[in-house]
């Protein structure tokens, strides 16, 4: 499984000394980077004991829990940022999770594998079965990605979930594969990967088709009206 996806973009987005909740924080690397580089006051939620143990090794605070089982006891706007980095597609009820994070976070970062990515579309079109690739490395029957979505899906939710998109930085991972045509396309939509120092390259041309990952910074509309 690809690890540390989009961490550079999250670190770039979050201002110094923010209060941050990282849902699905894994081994705590993202929170550790945020602590080191931005001096954030962070807390992680992780479903596995191993994940929390590895957070503890790094001096990152986290607790073992299932985010589907509730964030309801957090007060409104408890955090400057709530991070859902490669997590929302793993939840049982993304709708309920999204409603909760919009309530407890002033801003929410949502990043996920984009099911609209053209290579996933091609896989399904030509092979006629559920896509398995570097981006989605599981078979349909053992995948933790139980609620896949596209960048467009996320945009369509804006009204119903009454949030406002503050920023979009859809991206692909830097690096070339074997196929020259795919590499060429990536070069066009992302720019030359050799000149790109960070791990993620932002896709500005037709992101729902050409970005491997969606990246949104959103906020509840109810907040902005206040």
């Amino acid at each position: 499984m690809e690890e540390y996806i989009g961490y550079d973009l999250v670190v770039e987005e979050i201002p110094e000394r923010s209060r941050v909740l990282d849902l699905g924080c894994g081994d705590g690397t993202l929170l550790f980077l945020l602590q080191e580089n931005k001096g954030v006051n962070g807390c992680g939620v992780e479903i596995s004991e191993e994940g929390v143990s590895r957070c503890l090794e790094k001096g990152v605070y986290s607790y073992q829990a299932d985010i589907d089982e509730g964030l309801s006891d957090y007060r409104d706007n408890s955090f400057d940022y709530v991070i859902l980095n490669q997590t929302i597609q793993n939840t049982k009820r993304p709708d309920l999770v999204l409603k909760e994070v919009l309530r407890i976070g002033k801003k929410v970062i949502v990043s996920f594998p984009n099911f609209g990515y053209y290579r996933i579309r091609l896989f399904l079109l030509f092979k006629g079965r559920m896509p398995v690739s570097k981006l989605l490395p599981y078979e349909w029957y053992n995948s933790p990605n139980i609620h896949l979505l596209t960048i467009k899906d996320m945009k369509r939710m804006e009204k119903e979930f009454s949030f406002k998109i503050l920023q979009q930085q859809h991206f692909s991972l830097v690096g070339e594969g074997k196929n020259k045509i795919f590499n060429f396309i990536k070069k066009i939509v992302c720019g030359d990967p050799h000149t790109n120092k960070s791990k993620s390259c932002k896709v500005r041309i037709m992101p729902n088709l050409f970005a491997q990952y969606g990246f949104f910074v959103i906020t509840s509309k109810k907040d902005t009206n206040q």
Partner: protein, 387 residues
């Protein structure tokens, strides 16, 4: 853990219990219910060396049947190590090469601290049931006197399992400025009705022993049968059904004996009886009554108008909360409730629910996950406190 690491682990060696006496009349020690007592003695042991900044002290809090003797042994010939020797010592979770570890016997106890078996200076006889009701907060207030006496302004950590965890939580609430961090294992902000029920059955076993004699037995025969029965009941609650089955199954103690006999004994029976008999040798029945009562009455929620969130509002410690999946006496849900109250208040908290079949007893048994997490937590808390 690698072999190299475990090879490095050692023992604190031969240790000696020390005693600190305070609150001499007329400066009595005032208890939560307003009654007063004095003088008060606490038995305690220390392991490791207090550093120059006095910033590496850790207070270990024991559970119902524990004592100040948490690590090491009393003589070279002594085979019985302290109750948490697995976790306290050079290279262990509470690394005595880095930290100064203190463990004191609780007020109301019977292992060197003032309790019902102590002589009441006003009557010249043992307190017995005249001993005042003691709470978890009273135990903590007494320990605070000891920590002051040792010249420690701030503890790096308070740590304990079960009733020890209750004391650790109470420490962070009663003395927020004196505690850097808190390790609360297999504990609860209040004991369940089921837990109180088991404690009561244990107490009834003691009360119904004719030798108990309303607590006046210090100059005659002691209520052995009652206390050992109480201990047997306790032991059942400390183990999970699975652990008990794996340990004893349906095996008979004496395999040559016929299975049909009424007197034939299952292995689990003889284990419990042995635990009961062993306990009577070292524990006072009245202390058992007082300490279980303190556990029953502990209720952080009630102390703060029915809100656990309010209880943790003003704490400043960072927490490590640990529960065990098969612990039904202090189930994981009890720990989760503590974690919830802490994070709603924006406090720093780590929480893990360790998968094990060992039940409530798990914190006293070898467990690598428990060990490494305590170790890592202390390491980062120590680093943070040094800034």
């Amino acid at each position: 853990m690698t072999k190299k690491e475990s090879a490095k682990k050692g023992t604190v060696g031969v240790v000696k219990t020390e005693y600190f006496t305070f609150s001499y009349p007329p400066d009595y020690f005032i208890l939560s219910n307003g009654s007063q007592i004095g003088p008060v003695t606490l038995a305690y042991e220390t392991y490791g060396v207090l550093n120059e900044n006095r910033s590496n002290a850790i207070l270990i809090l024991h559970a119902l049947s524990g004592s100040a003797h948490a690590a090491g042994f009393y003589s070279e010939k002594d085979k019985n190590t302290g109750w948490w020797d697995l976790y306290i010592g050079p290279g262990k979770a509470f690394d005595t090469e880095k930290y100064f570890v203190i463990c004191s016997n609780v007020l109301g106890g019977c292992s060197g601290s003032t309790g019902p078996a102590s002589i009441n200076p006003e009557t010249g006889r043992a307190y017995g049931m005249d001993f005042p009701m003691v709470t978890i907060a009273d135990m903590v207030n007494a320990q605070k006197k000891l920590i002051d006496h040792l010249g420690i302004k701030k503890l790096l950590a308070v740590a304990g399992g079960s009733m020890g965890g209750m004391q650790a939580l109470q420490w962070t609430i009663s003395y927020p400025d004196m505690v850097e961090s808190c390790i609360a294992i297999a504990t609860s902000a209040s004991l369940s009705a089921q837990g109180i029920a088991f404690n009561e059955v244990g107490r009834q076993a003691i009360f119904n022993d004719p030798h108990w004699n309303n607590g006046n037995y210090y100059n005659s025969r002691i209520p052995k049968a009652g206390l050992s029965l109480a201990r047997m009941i306790g032991h059942i609650t400390y183990m999970s059904e699975k652990h008990m089955h794996e340990k004893f199954g349906r095996k008979f103690q004496d395999s040559h004996q016929g299975k049909a006999g009424v007197s034939s004994e299952f292995m689990v029976e003889s284990y419990l009886k042995y635990q009961g008999i062993k306990f009577v040798e070292r524990f006072d029945a009245n202390s058992y009554i007082y300490i279980t009562r303190a556990i029953d009455h502990f209720d952080l929620k009630e102390d703060f108008g029915g809100s656990l969130t309010a209880a943790f509002e003003n704490v400043s410690a960072n927490y490590l909360v640990i529960s065990f999946t098969s612990d039904w006496l202090y189930p994981s849900s009890n720990s989760k409730e503590i974690v919830r109250a802490l994070r709603v208040n924006g406090k720093n908290v780590n929480y893990i629910d360790i998968e094990t079949d060992n039940g409530h007893d798990a914190f006293l048994l070898p467990n690598e996950i428990l060990e490494k997490n305590i170790k890592n937590f202390l390491k980062s808390e120590f680093k943070k406190s040094e800034f």
